[in-house]
């Protein structure tokens, strides 16, 4: 099984003597750079981890993306580097402050201070039929959030989801939490691939899904 291709705009580059995942754009969080390429640390980014682990993301570059749980913009800045119009939803004000700074120099990155659990509050801004939803929200009900946001996704679009077990239930076994979340997810999506992200993110499950 050969690893799927990375999207156009994401490359493995030599940075600081190491071959690392990288995108091209203005630096955001003091990451190492070389020749205009910024290292994308899979240990800090679930999506970066999914690329490193060879997930079949269906991304080829230039997609329209809705990113839920953008936090301070670490991952979404890389996404905006290789994708097309990118909507970044973040609910917490303090990280959103940094997100705005990351978005300012990226003219197709749109920061929104919104709660991913109430899509009607941003459906007047985010367009329909986006090619991909990337979700990394650390709240309870992560599958529920994905299902509610399915309305934005094109029929052949992809959901790239990182489920954090500890956000659902600190005491339960991660496997149990993941099963429950996947059950809920299947009410709105067909799950195409799942894999633990433990190499980079402890107790996280990476999921690729498409609307039903």
């Amino acid at each position: 099984m050969s690893a799927p291709d990375l999207p156009a705009g994401v490359e493995r580059r030599e940075i600081d003597g190491e071959t690392r995942l990288a995108t091209r754009g203005p630096p955001v969080y003091g990451e190492p750079t070389a020749d205009g390429w910024r290292a994308w640390d899979p240990g800090r980014s679930k999506l970066g981890g999914m690329f490193e682990l060879g997930f079949e993301t269906g991304l080829s570059g230039d997609e329209t993306v809705l990113y839920l749980g953008a936090a301070s913009g670490t991952t979404v800045s890389h996404v905006a580097d290789f994708a097309g119009p990118t909507y970044a939803v973040e609910f917490a004000p303090r990280p959103a402050r940094d997100l705005v700074e990351a978005a300012e120099p990226r003219d197709r990155l749109f920061p929104l201070l919104k709660d991913a659990r109430t899509p009607t509050r941003y459906a007047h801004v985010v367009e329909s039929d986006v090619d991909a939803i990337v979700q990394d929200v650390a709240t309870r009900g992560q599958a529920e959030v994905a299902v509610r946001n399915a309305r934005f996704l094109a029929d052949d679009g992809r959901l790239l989801l990182a489920i954090k077990a500890r956000s659902e239930d600190v005491t339960a076994e991660p496997e149990t939490v993941f099963e429950g979340a996947l059950d809920r997810l299947r009410e709105g999506y067909e799950v195409l691939e799942t894999q633990r992200l433990d190499r980079f993110h402890e107790d996280h499950l990476g999921v690729v899904a498409t609307p039903r």
Binding site: R97, H124, E202
Partner: protein, 311 residues
């Protein structure tokens, strides 16, 4: 649901000036629409914007969206950052007041209902049942109505708890993850705000909420309290009594750091949580090592938790 009803299916740019018009002065209105607008469903906004003349091309639309969304979000962030920990404090205090008042009133309502109906049960649940009754006559009407207030207050308490669950992680992500939303809110309320919590030494955080015991200790009447409100945390409560002092100290130390990270950076910091899990595993492992001297009580619970931080 007021005058924006007409716009329920309109994009954020509805009413915006058309492309190419210079210095139109509608920017504040557009920012307000992004921040406060709603739509039932997303639509092809770029296409519709071009159609309506708001932008002359999809690229032009995205340029205007970028400018407006960056400005709107910056403004909203500024506003929210000012208010949020104060709002959380209000919410948690209101929740406590609702709970206390509901319980108090429930007692009165149950006593009254017991004198009127044969099957009246005590507590909030009992009040809910009484509230469902069809009253006959003046007295029953008053007793049932009182029970209905109790049920409403209890519902308000639950709604406040949900709100706290939702906003605490936004105000203080690390603190809320470590302590749970409710305890995080209580710590912030006891300290008088996130900033003052962030500035407290961890020894103070450890005994927040145990002021009576602390002052009794300071005036020489009692031993020093081991823990305050953090007692409600699983790490303290489910640790055997002789190790609770260490557990509270470890937890308070990390909670203090979490509050500082939340106040000064706002970023999630995973290492903080890992360090606490490891420390707790070490403390709880003493149960096995020292099983010769201490009793074996509670050892079963502790080993479950201890393995959690091992990986």
């Amino acid at each position: 649901m007021t005058d924006t009803d007409d716009n329920a299916d309109a994009g954020w740019f509805a009413g915006g000036s058309s492309a190419g018009s210079e210095a139109t002065g509608d920017d504040p209105a557009l920012r307000a629409r992004i921040a406060g607008g709603e739509a039932d469903a997303p639509r092809d906004w770029p296409g519709l914007a071009v159609e309506s003349g708001f932008a002359d091309s999809r690229d032009g639309y995205y340029d205007r969206l970028h400018e407006a969304s960056v400005a709107a979000t910056r403004e909203a962030v500024r506003e929210r950052e000012r208010a949020d920990d104060k709002q959380l404090v209000h919410a948690v205090r209101a929740m406590d007041d609702c709970e206390r008042t509901a319980n108090e009133l429930a007692e009165r309502a149950a006593e009254w209902a017991g004198s009127l109906f044969d099957d009246a049960e005590p507590g909030i649940e009992g009040a809910r049942a009484v509230a469902e009754r069809e009253p006959e006559g003046e007295l029953e009407r008053r007793a049932v109505s009182l029970a209905a207030r109790v049920a409403d207050l209890a519902a308000e308490r639950d709604a406040l708890a949900e709100t706290i669950d939702r906003i605490a992680p936004a105000v203080a992500p690390n603190l809320a993850e470590m302590a749970g939303p409710e305890l995080a809110a209580r710590l912030i309320a006891l300290a008088g705000g996130l900033e003052s919590l962030a500035k407290k030494p961890s020894g103070t955080v450890q005994v927040l909420g145990a002021e009576d015991a602390l002052f009794a200790h300071l005036s020489g009447r009692a031993p020093s309290p081991k823990h305050g409100i953090i007692y409600t945390h699983e790490y303290v409560r489910n640790t055997r009594p002789e190790d609770r002092g260490s557990a509270s100290r470890a937890l308070a130390g990390k909670l203090t750091l979490a509050a500082r990270v939340d106040h000064y950076s706002g970023e999630r910091r995973e290492t903080l949580h890992e360090e606490l899990r490891e420390r707790m595993a070490t403390i709880r492992a003493r149960v096995e090592e020292g099983s010769g001297d201490g009793g074996g009580d509670g050892a079963g619970d502790d080993t479950v938790a201890a393995t959690e931080g091992d990986e």
